[in-house]
């Protein structure tokens, strides 16, 4: 009834013909304009001045530029291109400083000497970087490297803008600029058997105190047509007596326990969406109402000590809805003596305790959902890693990927650096789900103040992020869409 009423009302909202024709005309004009500009390079710039931790290493960064040009075989012409224009822009920015009009005044209290950033501004062309990366891939040297694909549809494609509290960003960072390591581990995805999958799920369910012998489960095997194309519904193990379906999934959200193990799904008639094997356990449990992330974690630990063990730690994030109401996401992960393993656990092997958004209409305690995404990885090997300054150089050279849809502007700042693990793309037009989980530097670029979000809890800053692979380029090959903007 709701659906029919809703559809009938929404049907009234349509784009009129004039609007459509105007839009088509605009698109045609835009295309003609782009064809005229054709080879115009996009410009990337970096201003280290407002970033306190980077400021102290300005001189080292300069040295690193020449070192990297040698180490990674980058031609000299990339460095320092268009310096005249850049100097003019910096002069302009400095004038703004004098007038107190700089949007980043609050972040320059203990920044580098006022003039030092001038000589550290460099401008690079993405097109140049593309040419180099392509040339590198075509050499014999690239053979045998670990391959990491950053396919647009791989789950990274649309990260877009991110709101964070700067304090939370600092507190939750396991990586500190200057951390030293020569190598970092790389993990390989491992396909599991049906028996292994069921055992894994039962183990986790029992940690919630649920008797698994009382739960029925159904295993739906994939069905292929004569051409070997996957044709069946979602292939899943689900611990219920129902056949898994979208409607079932919706209804199951009302139950206390929902466990699915999705593998493949059909999109439309021709498109296939392949998932990795991963365990998803949703377990509703009203833990808290208005607690802090720390309180959410402590209550979860007290209530489910088998799930949240003593050897675990957490990161906690606040989320604000449109009205400024707050909820929390807590990620519990196992600590390890190995630096890279701890990073991997916090990035990939974590248990997410996610609270519902609170609404003004809420009268009940906020419900928390445990979401366990348990990808199956094995340690592949330790590979030589680059430090953040080398990663910065690659960033300057366009050797990154990002979902940010606009170019970096004159007043761009890098305000935070993380080291995190990314998983291989899993939504390919194939049934292959193998791949490596690889460490990446994650550069947070803060947008101007006008993008801030004001909430009752304080000001959230708006960032976009850029990823640079932390493994030395001699040991890893990245897809040719590494620098893909969407």
């Amino acid at each position: 009834m709701f659906k029919d009423d809703y559809r009938r009302e929404v049907d009234k909202l349509t784009a009129n013909e004039k609007f459509k024709q105007d839009t088509i005309s605009l698109m045609q004009e835009k295309q003609q304009q782009l064809e005229k500009e054709n080879k115009t390079a996009k410009i990337i710039k970096f201003n280290p001045r407002p970033y306190r931790k980077l400021a102290a290493s300005v001189a080292v960064a300069l040295l690193a530029v020449s070192t990297m040009a040698y180490t990674f075989g980058l031609p000299d012409f990339l460095i320092g291109a268009d310096s005249t224009t850049e100097t003019e822009r910096i002069d302009s920015a400095m004038e703004q400083d004098a007038e107190g009009g700089d949007a980043f005044t609050n972040y320059t209290a203990d920044a580098s000497p006022a003039l030092s950033h001038k000589e550290n501004h460099r401008v690079y062309s993405i097109d140049d970087a593309k040419a180099i990366n392509t040339a590198e891939q075509n050499t014999e040297k690239s053979k045998g490297k670990i391959f990491f694909d950053t396919t647009l549809t791989g789950g990274f494609g649309f990260e877009g803008y991110c709101f964070y509290s700067p304090d939370e960003l600092e507190q939750n960072s396991l990586y500190t600029v200057g951390d030293e390591f020569d190598t970092l581990p790389v993990y390989e995805y491992k396909e599991q058997s049906y028996q292994e999958q069921v055992k894994l799920m039962k183990d986790y369910i029992s940690k919630f105190g649920v008797n698994t012998s009382q739960i029925k489960y159904k295993w739906t095997r994939p069905v292929y047509n004569e051409d070997g194309i996957f044709m069946s519904h979602e292939d899943a193990i689900t611990f219920t007596s129902n056949i898994p379906s979208e409607e079932y999934m919706l209804n199951s959200a009302d139950s206390e326990l929902s466990i699915t193990y999705p593998k493949y799904q059909v999109l439309g008639d021709t498109s296939l969406w392949a998932y990795r094997n991963e365990l998803r356990v949703s377990f509703d449990s009203a833990l808290s109402q208005t607690d802090t992330p720390q309180a959410v974690y402590q209550r979860a630990k007290e209530k489910y000590p088998k799930l949240i063990s003593e050897n675990m730690d957490y990161t906690g994030w606040s989320h604000y809805n449109f009205y400024g109401e707050v909820s929390y996401d807590v990620y519990a992960y196992e600590k390890s003596d190995d630096y890279g393993q701890t990073l991997f656990n916090s990035s990939v092997n974590s248990i997410n305790i996610s609270q519902h958004e609170r609404l003004e209409t809420d009268t009940e305690p906020t419900t928390s959902i445990f979401w366990i995404q348990f990808p199956c990885y094995e340690l592949a090997e330790y590979l030589p890693a680059i430090d953040y300054q080398q990663a910065l150089d690659l960033l300057f050279n366009g050797q990154f990927f990002s979902s940010f849809s606009d170019q970096i502007s004159d007043d761009t700042v890098i305000s935070h650096i993380e080291l995190t693990y990314l998983e291989p793309p899993y939504s390919l037009q194939t049934l292959k789900t193998e791949g490596y989980s690889v460490p990446f530097y994650k550069f947070f670029v803060q947008l101007p103040e006008e993008y801030d979000k004001v909430t009752e809890a304080g000001i959230l800053k708006n960032y976009t992020v850029y990823y640079v692979c932390a493994i030395h380029p001699d040991y890893i090959q990245l897809a040719d869409n590494y620098y893909h903007f969407n």
């Binding site: 839009t23 649309f158 959902i369 969407n486």
Partner: protein
């Protein structure tokens, strides 16, 4: 590159406009966002694997641009979390439907999830991809949205 802009606009303009109307305050903003979404498609020159991929990309970019639009609204207006005027701002298309007015009281993410699930018949997995959330989060939005709507509809009766 020759693209069939007519096909693309005629296929997706209504859908994108409806998504925008679930996010933005008025038809004018919604139309701006829809046109910007299509122009972004021209700029990026992306080749899609399938119609589904094309649709998912457009939805995702459109939602991101809607968020941008909201951000500029925050800037223009000194935002208060208790600003009921902002929350209840009617669309320029005047509707008497209580159902739509109730839906507009939901947070934007819940509104959009409700639209994609109940109107576009999109599977939860694809809504999750389009909205940049995991499936359980989408389920949570739908569940929450339904509960609020049920309560409001009961109160009306």
């Amino acid at each position: 590159m020759d693209r069939d802009f007519g096909r693309i606009v005629n296929s997706y303009a209504d859908m994108l406009l409806r998504i925008c109307m679930h996010y933005t305050k008025n038809l004018s903003d919604a139309e701006d966002v829809v046109q910007t979404t299509f122009l972004r498609l021209v700029e990026k020159n992306i080749r899609f694997d399938s119609a589904e991929h094309e649709k998912a990309w457009l939805i995702r970019v459109c939602i991101n641009l809607c968020k941008d639009n909201l951000k500029s609204s925050w800037k223009k207006k000194v935002y208060s979390v208790h600003d009921t005027e902002f929350k209840d701002q009617p669309y320029e298309i005047q509707e008497d439907s209580p159902l739509l007015s109730y839906i507009r009281t939901l947070p934007p993410k819940q509104r959009t999830a409700v639209y994609l699930f109940y109107y576009e018949d999109m599977p939860i997995s694809r809504i999750a991809t389009a909205m940049g959330a995991n499936q359980n989060t989408v389920l949570s939005w739908l569940r929450r949205g339904r509960k609020v709507l049920e309560k409001l509809l009961k109160e009306e009766v």
